[in-house]
Symmetry: C2
Subunit: 389 residues, 2 copies
């Protein structure tokens, strides 16, 4: 075989996705992936949207369209961001084929080989995978129960001269931690002083189980020219459509768009039009009410049930939203060793080791509470109870 | 603003796409882009497929799915390739979000910075754009009316030690040239002797206006471990869905898949399922009969009409399929200078200059004959007739 790019060939895929494909067996109950509950999908409403789009704009829906995204969809998602405290115009938005594509494009456009990216530790593995394609290096920043520690961020910036800081401030993956408003301001204060990009990933904030919203860090006007904010319809509408977006300075969006052109031309026209039709014909907040209530029930069921399952001395983050519980087992338990026992018992979680950019902790694990109904959660926990005994 | 990747920022977008967006004005008749005729789309049949998929597999269609693509779709496109003379199993196929994504991923996985890619000259601009993201260098190989000249290919391989050869052997874009079977064997003979990738791009071969098929060069068993073949549903079903694929050695498909994971996770689940449903519920060959007949009519109308429009001494390639006519004007006409006159006259073509990797010829231009009905072609040609007088 002729040679390949040796670096890219060496990268390998997400260890999580391979663990999950190992657990494709329908007999295995998965607390692994970040898949929304399939039964929460508005199959009928989305079906009507596809039908309407094909009836009313069939030729347009099936034809090539712009790399930047359908104007109506750019307008709709910018309105939603504005409602959520991040003032945005349609022109500030590049539609992407899921927010993973946004991460991939940001990696290509913002990072140079050996650029340093500061991250929470642990953090979202697939963002690391995207940035690794640009040969980025990762450095952890200390976190506490309020997320990234501002002083640690400042010293890391001074020590490493990073190109970018990648953060998931709300219902972080994998820890579930949410950064309070006061902390957000302190982080913005630090970022405002240095010549560094903020990459703010916000896939989960609409899945909140209490009555509040958190303002994105990117809303700070001092960061207008140095922030790239990522949103997605995956968790509120459906991930199968692959609709996400990047909000950022227009000069950067233009370069992201030309890079998207080279990498994949455009996002599915029909999926974009169906998404905006669905948003226009439905009240998203009303749609989210039962989903939030159900996910909250599932979270509570899992938190409660885990107490009889995890060994004495465990700790657990109970997040105010999102999808994941993050547990730490007492010595000498090793969640990455136990995961195969769990699979054999018919249940799977993700070993926390996978999410670290430094000092991986074998005692940690991530459990998704959204993908299964309460009775299946109970069954899965029963299976899991044999593992840590 | 913090720094960006200076190289990627310097690349710029496709000059063709900006010319086309300039000509978005509905009053302008476009012979520019490679858009299939919208009226050829099976809007009703595709609509039924989306409906059926959502009724029968709603939860699956809206959920995350594999990076490699839906198994049924991989099977369907491999059957079609096998029918067309390129024996393929489902596992030899990676589904991509349009074949542009295939080109982008191949660029990342196959090429190193400064890798040389040999190409026809002129060639498909967006492939250059994809490979340029990997900092590839391009070198032209001499062509004649049968496409790439095998001896020229061999000397270019010896001279440049390329990583890959990028070819569109059937109804080439932009020239419309098709490489005859005997030439394909000679090219395969050369490629079989050297340690170089063949990237064979084949978007147009289903749009043939005579009763024959051309065997892909990749069908030569000696090239099994060094060929990457790209196919797409864009020209036979619809481009708005973004369904393409790469056929290649499984070791390479795996690396392409992990790279796709990092760059965009997966292709739209619902679009994939709708595509395979449509392929299963329709006879593609029967569907193609009227499309081929209509495109042939349009080709003939444009070829005939151009004779009264282009200045005496022009030459024209009349392709046996595909989408494009390629014209060369006599001295001293300059098609890249005249294009703004054309736009002002209400018609647009693509200056041939854009397609060259070396020695661009200002006398050349590309005209798409598929996008407009015969009467609109006549009207567009009438407008164009004022430009070259």
């Amino acid at each position: 075989m002729p040679p390949l790019n040796a670096y890219v060939s060496s990268l390998g895929g997400s260890p999580i996705r391979s663990l999950l494909s190992l657990a494709q067996d329908p007999d295995i109950i998965s607390f692994g992936g970040g898949a929304p509950a399939s039964e929460s999908f508005d199959v009928e409403g989305i079906g009507k949207s596809y039908q309407r789009v094909l009836e009313e704009h069939g030729a347009r829906a099936l034809q090539y369209s712009s790399t930047e995204g359908e104007p109506e969809l750019r307008a709709a998602v910018s309105e939603r961001m504005t409602l959520n405290g991040l003032h945005t115009e349609a022109d500030d938005v590049l539609i992407t084929s899921g927010s993973q594509q946004g991460l991939g494009l940001i990696g290509q456009v913002v990072l140079d080989p050996d650029s340093i990216v500061l991250t929470e530790n642990p953090t979202f593995v697939s963002a690391l995978q995207a940035f690794a394609l640009s040969r980025a290096q990762f450095r952890p920043v200390d976190t506490d129960s309020g997320g990234l520690v501002p002083e640690a961020l400042e010293s890391a910036i001074l020590q490493y001269s990073p190109r970018a800081v990648y953060l998931i401030p709300t219902f972080q993956n994998p820890t579930g931690v949410t950064m309070p408003e006061s902390r957000r301001r302190e982080v913005a204060d630090v970022l405002a002083r240095y010549n560094v990009w903020l990459i703010e990933d916000d896939p989960y904030s609409e899945l909140r189980y209490d009555e509040w919203t958190m303002t994105p860090i990117s809303a700070d006007p001092r960061l207008a020219h140095k922030s790239l904010y990522l949103g997605t319809l995956s968790k509120v509408m459906a991930p199968g459509l692959r609709i996400g977006w990047v909000r950022g300075p227009q000069e950067v969006l233009e370069i992201l768009a030309t890079t998207k052109q080279g990498m994949s031309l455009q996002t599915s026209t029909i999926d974009q039009l169906a998404a905006v039709d669905w948003l226009e014909h439905n009240d998203l907040d009303a749609k989210l009410v039962p989903i939030r209530a159900e996910y909250r029930r599932r979270r509570d069921a899992m938190v409660e049930g885990l107490d009889a399952v995890l060994p004495d001395g465990y700790t657990l983050n109970t997040p105010m939203g999102g999808m994941f519980l993050w547990a730490t087992l007492p010595e000498p338990f090793d969640a990455s060793e136990s995961v195969m026992d769990a699979v054999h018992a018919g249940v799977v979680y993700i070993p926390g080791m996978q999410f670290y950019v430094a000092d991986p902790k074998p005692s940690t694990l991530r459990l998704s509470f959204v993908s299964n109904p309460v009775d299946v959660i109970a069954q899965g926990l029963e299976r899991l109870s044999t593992v840590f005994r």
